[in-house]
Structures are given as C-alpha cells and as structure tokens.
C-alpha cells in the first residue's frame, strides 16, 4: 500500500500531460489547417484545381500563381504602396504620440487629463462616422486619391491610442530623475530625448510591432480616400485580385500569402514585443 501513491501520482501526472498535449495539438492543428491549405493551394496549378476540385489532394507544384499575382495582379506595386504608407505612419504616429505623452505625463499642463481622454476618445470612435467627411476633406485639401491622404488619416486616427499607452508608461518614470536633470540644467528637449525616450524604449518597440500590423492590414481607410487601382495598398489590391481572378484559387491563395507575409515576419521576429503591445493597450 505504501508505494501506491508513489506509482499512481506520476502516472496520473503523465496522463494529464498527455491529455494536455493531445487537446492542445488538436487545437493548434485546427488553427493551422486553413493556413496550410492556403499555402498548398498557392503552389498548385490552375488545371489541377479545375480538374480535381479545390478540396482535392494536390497533384502539381508550380510557383506560377505567385508570378501571376505579383506581376499581372499588381501585387508588387501594392506591396510597395503598403510599405510607403505603413513605415512613415508608424514612425510619425509614434513620434507625435511620444511628444504628447511626454508633455501630458511630465508637466503640469492645465486640463491634461481631459486632453488625454479627448485624444483617446478620438481613437475609440467608430471610423464609420468619419468616412464621408474624411473623403470630402481629402478632396478639399487636394490630396484625395494620393498616399499622403491615407498617411494623414492613419496618423490622425491612430495617435490618440498611442498617446494613452505611452502616457501610462512615462508616468511611471520617477520624478527624481527629471528633477535631477533639471538641476543639472537640462531643458525639456534634453529631458525628452536623453532621459524619457530611452526609458520608454520597451513600450515603443511593442507599439511599433503592433501599429505596423494594424496599419498594414487596414482596408477601410484605404478604400475611403483612394480610388485608382495603382495606388491601393495590398489589402485593397487583394480584393481587386479576387475580382480579377474569379475562381482562380491558386492566384488568390498566392496573393493572400504575399499579403500576409510581411506581418507574419514582423510577428515571428518581434513576437514578445507584439504580445506585450497588445497587453499594454488593454490591461493597463
């Protein structure tokens, strides 16, 4: 009897571990299956899919679909457009947000809390209320159907959220550090650039990874302020591809892979920042 607990406890633990891995694997497979499917479809030939059906076992291998999506489908240009929008947006939004958060968190400005919430509130608005005025506004400013219009609205709409998150982060920096810098004769710019920004790096890294995906994946703003196919970013181009290559599933799948690749790369490279960013925004 004495050694019964010795043998059953590890056995039960082993069974629990096996059960865990079994259910977690099933879940992971369920989640990865659609991704595997689109990868497989993207390297099949059109004839193979047409003859045997989309759900059939693949019988061909070709990278033709990628060439079609990339060259004929205009994905190359679309991807460049996306990067031309996303990279400046991320940099400018975070720079502006860091500035505002610095002012609001480190100085006794009048109405600072109201300003902070006003800026956050702007980001929480449903974008629908802004679509019509924003498209008319960009016409009025003469930037309708140009990438700067998309960059402008992405920055304006996004900045409030990042101000809020960075404010929470900068507020936690001890006041003594700032006071010591003031005593040493540092002005606000030096405090910002040499002290607060370096200490905010983790949050900035997290928010960069996050905002890159958000801006890169956006569809609604793009189709609101842009019209020409040649200016569309990759998400909108993907919808164009869907219309242009109706039921040519290999091309559509290849297009989806191209459109998803940059954000997946960012995610895999900066996974920890990414998850940290989501939590910064929410659980704070």
């Amino acid at each position: 009897m004495a050694n019964v607990p010795h043998t059953t406890a590890p056995r039960r633990r082993r069974a629990a571990t096996a059960g865990f891995h079994l259910s977690a694997t099933a879940l992971a497979v369920l989640w990865l299956l659609p991704i595997a499917l689109v990868l497989v479809t993207s390297v099949r030939s059109f004839d193979d899919i047409a003859a045997h059906g989309l759900g059939s076992r693949p019988r061909s291998f070709t990278l033709d679909a990628f060439r079609q999506a990339w060259v004929d489908g205009g994905q190359q240009r679309a991807l460049i457009n996306s990067l031309l929008v996303t990279v400046p947006c991320v940099l400018v939004t975070l720079a502006l947000a860091a500035m505002a958060a610095f002012g609001l968190s480190r100085y006794e400005l009048p109405l600072r809390r109201s300003l902070l919430l006003l800026m956050l509130g702007g980001n929480l608005l449903p974008p629908q209320i802004l679509l019509i005025p924003v498209s008319k506004l960009s016409e009025l400013m003469g930037v309708y159907d140009t990438l700067p219009a998309l960059i402008g609205v992405q920055i304006g709409f996004g900045v409030g959220f990042y101000v809020f998150v960075l404010h929470g982060f900068m507020r936690a920096i001890p006041a003594e550090i700032q006071q010591a810098a003031v005593v040493d004769g540092a002005g606000p710019w030096q405090i910002f650039w040499r002290i607060v920004l370096p200490l905010t790096r983790p949050a900035l890294a997290a928010l960069s990874a996050l905002s890159f995906t958000w801006i890169f994946n956006d569809l609604l703003w793009a189709i609101t302020v842009l019209r020409s196919d040649t200016k569309m970013p990759i998400t909108a181009a993907l919808i164009g591809l869907q219309g242009q290559y109706v039921s040519m599933w290999n091309v559509i799948a290849a297009g989806s892979v191209v459109a998803a690749a940059p954000t997946v790369a960012v995610f895999l490279r900066f996974q920890r920042h990414f998850v940290a960013g989501l939590n910064l925004g929410a659980v704070k």
């Binding site: 209320i129 008319k136 998850v275």
Partner: protein, 310 residues
C-alpha cells in the same frame, strides 16, 4: 464594486493635494508645442470630421450639390427601411455570437495554455498567428474553404454527411454564420493573449489558500479565477464591442453583405449607402447609429482610463 468606490472617493483629494503642493508652474513653450501638434493633427483628421459627420446625418446630400437640411428625416426613414432593420439585427447577432464566443473560447484557450510547460509556446503562437493576418487575407482563405468544391464540403462528404454540402456563402440562411467563423478564428487568439496576461497576474497564494480550504477545481475557478479576472473582463468586453461594431473587412471581402442583405451589418450597409448609392446624408445617419451603439462602451472605457490616469 468596493474597489471602484474607494478609488473614486480618493481621486479628487489626491488631485487637490498634488496641485497645491507643486502650485501652478509655467509650462515651457516646447512642451506646449509637443502636446498641441499631435492634438492639431487629430483635430484635422478626427474631431473636425466627426462633427461634420454628426451634422451631415441631419441632411440629404449626394456629394455634388450642397447638403439640404432635413432634420431627423434620415432617422425617421430608418424605421421603415427593411435593410437597415435587418442589418441592425445582424449586428446585434454578430455582437452576441462573435463577441460571446470569442470571449468564452479565448478564456478557455487561455486556461488550457496558461501553465508554462514544454511546447506551450508553440501552441500559443499557433492560436495567435491569425491575429496578424489582415481580415481580407483571412476572408479569402475561408472563401476557398467554403467553395462548393472546397475543403469543407469534401470533409462533410468523407465523413458521410454529404447531405449537408452547401454553397455556404451563397445561401441566405448560412452566409452570416459562415462569415462569423473566420472572424472568430482570428479573434480568439487575441482574446486569449489578454486573458493569459490576466491569469498571470493572479496571486498563486489565493489558489493555495483555496486549496487548503478544500475548494474543488471548479470552485477555485468560480470563486478565485473569475473574480480576479474582473478588470480583464471589462477590457475584453470593450475590445469585443468596439471590434464588433467596426467589423467590416471580413464581411466586405466575403459577401459584400449579400446575398440579398442576409449578411449585411450596419458597417457594410453604411459603406455601400455612402460610397455606392452616394446617399451621403443617410449614410452619415447610419454611422451615427453605430456611434450610439458604441457610446456606452466607449464612455465606460474612458471612465476607466480617467481613473487610471489619476
């Protein structure tokens, strides 16, 4: 509740104290510029357009001639607009199904994957991977699955359920549900990450104490885990409601709201009314309805942020 009232009572006193202690201080002009520049950018692209949006909802406008003021005419029209009523119903259904399921399944996934052990990083990454896909790419992946000759129908046939084979997106009875599934596939990983952080923040001593008191696994979940997750729940709720009302991309890429408006949401109806039918006044009024639906959640989020900023 006790925590909330306590902090609410404390906050004004704190604010007074700090203001008196430091006194009014001159703000360096650079700092003022730091705050005003971003505010200006947001005003141009968000606040000013938002005000215009509210005004336009009271007008009839084709985008070419001047907007004609019609008061609440647009809102009166909605009462008889069957597409609007359908879209509003679908939006509520979307909130309940998409929101409810992503919260429950996201929490379940977090509970399953909360313990640090071998392989758990891979499982988490697998569930999280779709979060980084655009909703358009997600939609196209699932469109291929839903095709009449696609994987789903193949699977059904191979397990002997061939009778259920279906043109999932083309059938008015299934289109909306077929659109929710890809949205869920992408959202659950996100909610899971939020809950994982929440679960990590729970003091293990609470579980130990409950165990010592003889609480079963289920009791520990009900009386320790759930109450401790209250603040995360509030965040998840706001995220879900705001995301639900914004849901546009996935529906637009899969069905454009069809067939016969059977998967129409307020967001897609607003977009097609404004930019395809060019009824900009009525479209703005639809946007105002979306805003009103989101308002409660936005307000409570801001109230929480207000307390947080203290």
């Amino acid at each position: 509740m006790a925590v909330v009232t306590a902090s609410a009572r404390k906050s004004p006193a704190l604010a007074h104290g700090s203001r008196r202690a430091r006194g009014p201080r001159r703000t360096p002009p650079l700092v003022l510029a730091f705050v005003l520049l971003p505010l200006l950018v947001e005003s141009v692209w968000v606040f000013w357009p938002a005000l215009q949006g509210f005004y336009l909802s009271l007008t009839r406008w084709d985008g070419v001639s001047a907007p004609a003021f019609v008061g609440l005419g647009n809102f009166r029209e909605m009462a008889h607009d069957h597409v609007f009523l359908g879209a509003a119903g679908h939006t509520v259904l979307w909130l309940v199904l998409f929101g409810g399921l992503s919260a429950v399944l996201g929490l379940a996934a977090a509970l399953l994957l909360q313990q640090e052990r071998r392989g758990v990083g891979f499982y988490r990454a697998a569930l999280f991977l779709p979060v980084v896909f655009s909703l358009v790419a997600t939609a196209l992946v699932w469109q291929a699955i839903y095709q009449p000759d696609g994987v789903l129908n193949h699977l059904l046939a191979s397990v002997g359920l061939g009778d259920l084979r279906h043109a999932w997106l083309a059938d008015q009875d299934t289109a909306l549900y077929a659109v929710i599934v890809p949205a869920l596939w992408r959202q659950i990983g996100y909610v899971m990450v939020l809950y994982l952080a929440g679960l990590k923040g729970i003091d293990p001593a609470l579980y130990e104490a409950a165990k010592v008191d003889g609480a079963s696994r289920r009791q520990r979940f009900r009386h320790v885990t759930l109450p401790q997750l209250r603040s995360v729940n509030a965040v998840v709720l706001s995220v879900i409601v705001i995301d639900s009302l914004r849901s546009f991309d996935v529906v637009w890429s899969l069905t454009r709201g069809g067939p016969y408006h059977s998967s129409e949401l307020l967001s897609t109806y607003m977009y097609s009314t404004a930019f395809q039918s060019l009824r900009l006044g009525y479209g703005s009024a639809l946007a105002v309805v979306i805003f009103v639906l989101a308002f409660g959640v936005i307000a409570s989020y801001l109230v929480r942020a207000f307390r947080e900023a203290e």
